[in-house]
Amino acid sequence: MNTTFELPGSYKKWTWGLIIVGLVALLYGLIMLHPFEHGHGEEHIGSTRFWAVLLQNSVYWLLTVNAAMFLICATTMAMGGWQVALRRVPEAISSVLPVLGSITFIILMILVWGGHSDIYHWVDKTVAESDPVIKGKSGFLNPVFFTVMAVITIGGWALLGRKMRAMSLKIDENGPLTYEQGKRWIWNNTVWASLFMVFFTLTVASSTPWLWLMSIDPHWYSTMYSWYNFASTFVSGLCLITIYVIFLKNRGQLEYVTEEHLQDLGKFIFAFSIFWTYIWFSQYLLIWYSNQPEETKYFIERIGTATHAGPYKGLFFLNLIINFVAPILILMKKSTKRNWSLMVFMSVLLLFGHWIDYYLMVMPGTVGKHAELMPFEFGIAALFIGIIMWSVGRFLTKHPLTPKNHPFLKESVIHQS
């Protein structure tokens, strides 16, 4: 068994290439879009666009890497054994969280304390006083509460995730565990996984998306919104895990991972793509049915009305095609889920699809009809991908890739899906 893994040169080239592309895009934004001359109206649209793109990418990629730790904790709590052979991959991905968390935190703080009312309308004190709807929510939507919640949320994910990773890495140091030690370790691991899960539910599945994304449209609300965010990022997290598993397998690592594990990852991606559609449709159907102006506004901003097509109509349906039609038709067959190349293709496609999904959450409420999907938007995405690749690569080279003393490793080796 290889204890250390050397990153191939192409991986490093891609990492630095993406980061450089991203930095060029960021520099372009800083110079050409005048991000610090913010305000409402068309003359300040460059600043709005700059910060909206940063918000979209940072929240999307942060929640995506956090979903990797969710997978570990969910399978740990279910006493699942199948994922142990590839467990180091989600651990590596979740190790990016402190980096992306800090970046997201800085961006959110600039938006809230820098008075960016073009992104978050409620930041403006005069609006918060005069608008009765926003005034009613001001106990919740105010900079202090927002900051405290962001600190607790990102800090909690980072600390609990760190504990889970540390526990997993610690049993690698010594020889195999005895029966009693293994039993105690599994119990401790399950307790910590449950703590993470409770915290995850209270943040990702309820409060975080309300504050970070739904408050872009402070007049509008949806009780499905947080679940919708969770479903979206869990699919992307699974896709990221799948890509890394296949990458490492191609490099001759992860010797116990077989098509059986790949098929299980495929099943997860398939199932949660359908779950995403279910949540998406539940949100749409209720708003379509009750047809109340303050609710339909959200969709009119995106698809427009029967007589007047909105600027996001094409992306809106592309979103459904990529994230629902493609997985249900392509991933339904067992042979697809066992095909390494097709799984890479589907993972990349879905990562892009859910990136578009987040684009559709952030852009209509901020830049509105001036939205662009230009090299700048993709450049910022490249920056975040580069940071994830750099950070995951560091974890993969430092630690053994198979948790050889995990009590459930044998279960994973003989796993049949």
């Binding site: 449709f281 749409y284 159907l285 379509w288 049915y289 047809n291 339904m332 067992k334 049949q416």
Partner: protein
């Protein structure tokens, strides 16, 4: 319908670990395994017996697509052609409102269709009867039935099964297919075989 009366050599095994090599060796020796009856699903036995992968999921997909089209077709015919109603000012072709029903009918068609197909493939329907080779196949024994042709020397097959570790071996003349009706007919055949 009926497969006709055939001669079978039946061996009963009391252990999975003995059964697997036995199945393998019987196939290797060129005997035709009619079927293996087990008290519970045995993982990997289908591979050992050389059965092909089931295509019931393809059938399920076709049933599902049928359900989707039936639901969408029927509802759009009713609400746009047959009996258009103004419901809350919504358009007559109100696709979002039909999605839940379409989903339910897709699930219903594929589920019921697959259950019926499964029963059909396993020849398990109400009133369908098959010969039981050994009553303890539903309790604690793994029962292998080997089909004999005119040229098969059943004494040799019995010796072979004995060497493979079968704990109970006999020869039965039985209906190889299925029939509608009662089990009286089978009891008669069973008696015939015991008289030999």
């Amino acid at each position: 319908m009926a497969g006709g009366i055939k001669k079978f050599v039946v061996g009963a095994f009391d252990d999975e670990k003995v059964l697997f090599p036995a199945v393998k060796n019987v196939r290797k020796s060129g005997y035709k395994i009619h079927d293996v009856y087990t008290p519970f699903p045995v993982h990997g036995l289908d591979h050992a017996m050389g059965l092909r992968e089931t295509s019931i999921h393809t059938a399920g997909f076709i049933y599902g697509i049928t359900g989707t089209s039936v639901a969408l077709g029927f509802m759009s015919w009713i609400f746009t052609k047959d009996w258009p109603l103004n419901i809350g000012g919504k358009p007559h072709f109100a696709l979002p409102a039909w999605i839940p029903i379409t989903f339910e009918l897709t699930v219903l068609f594929s589920a019921v269709g697959m259950v019926i197909t499964f029963c059909w493939l396993c020849q398990m329907m109400p009133f369908v009867k098959k010969h039981h080779f050994h009553p303890r196949a539903t309790d604690d024994l793994f029962v292998m039935a080997i089909e004999c042709t005119d040229k098969t020397d059943d004494a040799e097959v019995q010796r072979f099964l004995k060497s493979e570790g079968a704990i109970e071996i006999n020869v039965q003349h039985a209906e190889s297919g299925w029939w509608f009706g009662f089990y009286n007919r089978q009891e008669k055949l069973y008696r015939d075989e015991n008289e030999n």
